[in-house]
């Protein structure tokens, strides 16, 4: 008699657990048993649910591509970090209204509560998202040393396949290729001797121009030479290095670009961001007076990274730099027209590039 009660309790517990597990299994069945598979950026074979309606994008670089592929209606939550002014127009203005899941998807509880069926992730976040949610997790960022354009294409392929928007993905790749090919075909044939030496000043927030990037693909694609590329062994991608003022003098760049990613009057938290280094500051810097770029006033603003390359800006940047470096070769290239075309392809609005160029004080022909 003594054993009957615990025995009954054990049966009850087993019954309840079985019920719970089968309920959970049902959820997963709905989501995962009928699925297509894809190979993600981490080399994992991921099961994509039959219906993908609630997508989480913890990185704005993924959100941009989802918008460009017409997948906005599937978004349930995004990171608002690095959501650029032109992106607020994307998806008929809904991107800014979507729940903010924190920088790089830090708010895991909010993500779980949004009941996502698909999460795009960086390779390092796969474990967190897989263990804390029921969603399929697809890695989009490659750790390989891919060039900027290769990375674009692979990301477009993965996001397109995961959202079952393969046709739109092909169309976007064709569009990018049609915009860039006329320029890259010309610049790829320019010998090193005819390429200008270019210095890219990144993060001028500290009041100087000593932070640069060794791999800045738009410079090379536009037919220039990034003078800092000799330090590639120490720094890849957007990590950046510090150099001394003497190095800049020694390199004697013919062009200097200052990074800007948002206009002075616009800031995500509503405050005004100061911009310590302006074109005039650089031209006035005493130590740069012997540098060709300053002597010839070839100092310009350019757009730069914000949560890796903003795709639309990087594409226009190649055209912008190509025309600055080789005005004779690209006399007929209308950067503003092409820029507006690219931005419209991404965000569906007219004249977005013109607005950005005005606000960031980019050079306009």
């Amino acid at each position: 008699m003594k054993l009957r009660f615990p025995g009954y309790l054990l049966v009850l517990v087993v019954f309840l657990l079985t019920g719970c597990v089968s309920q959970k299994a049902d959820d997963n069945t709905n989501r995962k048993t009928v699925c297509d598979t894809l190979m993600d950026a981490a080399g994992r074979t991921v099961c994509i649910p039959a219906r993908v309606n609630r997508v989480i994008s913890p990185f704005t670089m993924y959100t941009r591509l989802i918008a460009a592929l017409g997948g906005c209606d599937k978004l349930a939550g995004i990171s608002h970090t690095c959501l650029l002014p032109e992106e607020l127009y994307g998806c008929n203005g809904v991107l800014g209204q979507l729940p903010d899941i924190g920088p790089f998807g830090a708010n895991i509880e909010l993500i779980a509560s949004l009941n996502p069926d698909l999460i795009f992730a960086s390779q390092s976040d796969i474990g967190t998202f897989t263990s804390k949610t029921d969603a399929s997790v697809v890695a989009v960022s490659f750790s390989d040393n891919l060039s900027m354009l290769e990375m674009f294409n692979r990301q477009i392929d993965i996001i397109g396949k995961a959202l079952r928007l393969e046709k739109q993905a092909d169309s976007l790749k064709t569009f990018i290729s049609s915009v860039l090919e006329p320029v890259i075909t010309v610049t790829s044939n320019i010998p090193d001797t005819a390429r200008p030496r270019v210095y890219f000043a990144w993060t001028s927030w500290t009041g100087d121009i000593l932070n640069t990037v060794c791999e800045f693909d738009p410079i090379e694609l536009a037919g220039g030479i990034n003078v800092a590329r000799e330090a590639t062994n120490f720094s890849k991608g957007e990590r950046g290095i510090l150099v001394s003022r003497e190095h800049i003098l020694n390199w004697n760049p013919e062009f200097i670009f200052i990074s800007r990613y948002q206009p002075q009057k616009w800031h995500q938290n509503g405050t005004t961001s100061p911009i310590p280094v302006t074109i005039q500051n650089v031209i006035d810097k005493r130590f740069l007076q012997t540098v060709d770029a300053v002597k010839n006033k070839n100092v310009f603003y350019t757009t730069a990274f914000c949560n890796w390359w903003p795709h639309q800006r990087a594409l226009v940047q190649i055209l912008y730099m190509a025309k600055l470096f080789h005005p004779g070769l690209f006399a007929d290239l209308d950067v503003e027209e092409q820029g507006n075309k690219i931005f419209k392809r991404f965000y569906g609005e007219d004249s977005l590039y013109t607005t950005m160029a005005e606000e960031l004080e980019l050079y306009r022909w």
Binding site: A106, T203, W205, A231, F234, R286
Partner: protein
């Protein structure tokens, strides 16, 4: 006879300390001259001499404009700033260690560095600045680096001014301002985060003659005042009660030293960013070599810090050329092993 032996020993010890200080002066001078010749652009010794004589003695000799710019406006300010900052950080570290009776005390114990980092972060990430223009970051860093110190001083006036309480208050301020900085970083994007982290690593690459003039004025005012405290610090080494018994106003001395050291370290940090370990390690190394007499320890620590920071900066320029490592990284990498070696070798001396 016995007193004569003691007198001889004392003279010998003083001579040894003086020779050590003299040697540091020579090493600093040699390192400075060597630093003028190191860089991506190669200049001969005569080029360097030509630029220097032309700049200081106005000889009117023909000098290439690039050589003039590189040697006089880039390398020389960098070398002088390294010497001034190293000197300032080391003497403030040494005085803080004595006044707080804590071997872990450094110029940053009262929260100077975390306050400065928060000020810089506020300017970079939120755009809130105390002054505008090119001194935006410097202004913010300076003002906010003094804020935690002011809070600590205020707290110390409420209760008794014990060294334990000051350290605890400093640790609390460090944590508060570090949390504010982390909060700012959380809301920053990659570009702002990079700028902030570069600033906090400390870098002498932005050195200019204007910075040197400003820093020199502050050091010229504060360093003699700090030197004047050395006798009292020697008495304080025997403990607060003994010092009081010998007529030293312990609380007043403590406040004076803390105000002056905070002012010096805040002035340095706002121009260079955070350069760690110079202030912490230099006095310990020198103490292990020449002992605890503040009258000699202070100039020796200062000179050692100057040489140490300059040497680290020269290494930082060359080690992975053309990339430049922040000098703060080299000071930590090189300073700590030296300190550990000396601690093991001179364990029996037990200076702390």
């Amino acid at each position: 006879m016995k007193s004569r032996i003691i007198q001889l020993k004392y003279r010998k010890a003083i001579a040894r300390k003086s020779v050590f200080i003299f040697l540091l002066l020579i090493v600093g001078f040699i390192l400075g001259i060597t630093g003028l010749g190191i860089g991506p652009i190669k200049y001969s010794f005569s080029d360097i001499v030509g630029v220097l004589t032309n700049s200081f003695l106005n000889t009117g000799s023909e000098v290439a404009p690039t050589a003039q710019m590189v040697i006089f406006n880039i390398r020389l300010p960098r070398i002088i700033l390294a010497l001034l900052c190293g000197f300032g950080l080391a003497i403030t570290g040494m005085q803080m260690q004595i006044i707080l009776r804590n071997p872990l005390a450094s110029p940053f114990t009262l929260g100077v560095s975390s306050g400065a980092a928060f000020g810089a972060g506020l300017a970079i990430i939120s755009g809130i600045t105390v002054i505008g223009g090119k001194y935006m970051l410097v202004g913010n860093a300076f003002v906010f680096s003094l804020l935690p110190c002011l809070v600590v001083f205020f707290l110390s006036r409420i209760g008794s001014c014990g060294h334990g309480m000051l350290i605890l208050a400093g640790i609390a301020m460090n944590f508060i301002f570090s949390s504010f900085s982390t909060l700012l970083s959380y809301f920053s994007n990659s570009e702002e985060l990079k700028a902030l982290s570069l600033w906090t690593m400390g870098n002498l690459g932005r050195a200019s003659w204007d910075d040197i003039v400003s820093l020199s004025i502050i050091l010229l005012i504060t360093v003699p005042l700090l030197f004047m405290q050395n006798q009292k610090l020697n008495v304080l080494n025997a403990g607060d009660e003994s010092a009081k018994g010998l007529g030293v106003n312990v609380e007043r001395t403590r406040i004076v030293v803390l105000v002056l050291t905070s002012l010096v370290s805040a002035s340095i940090i706002c121009f260079t960013g955070m350069i760690g370990f110079v202030g912490l390690v230099s006095p310990h190394i020198v103490r292990l070599l020449i002992g605890n007499d503040a009258r000699y320890l202070m100039p020796a620590s200062g000179l050692f810090g100057a040489v140490f920071l300059l040497g680290s900066d020269v290494m930082a320029l060359k080690i992975i050329e053309p990339a430049v490592l922040p000098a703060g990284i080299i000071t930590s990498f090189t300073g700590c092993p030296i300190l550990l070696y000396l601690i093991i070798k001179k364990q029996k001396d037990r200076v702390w």
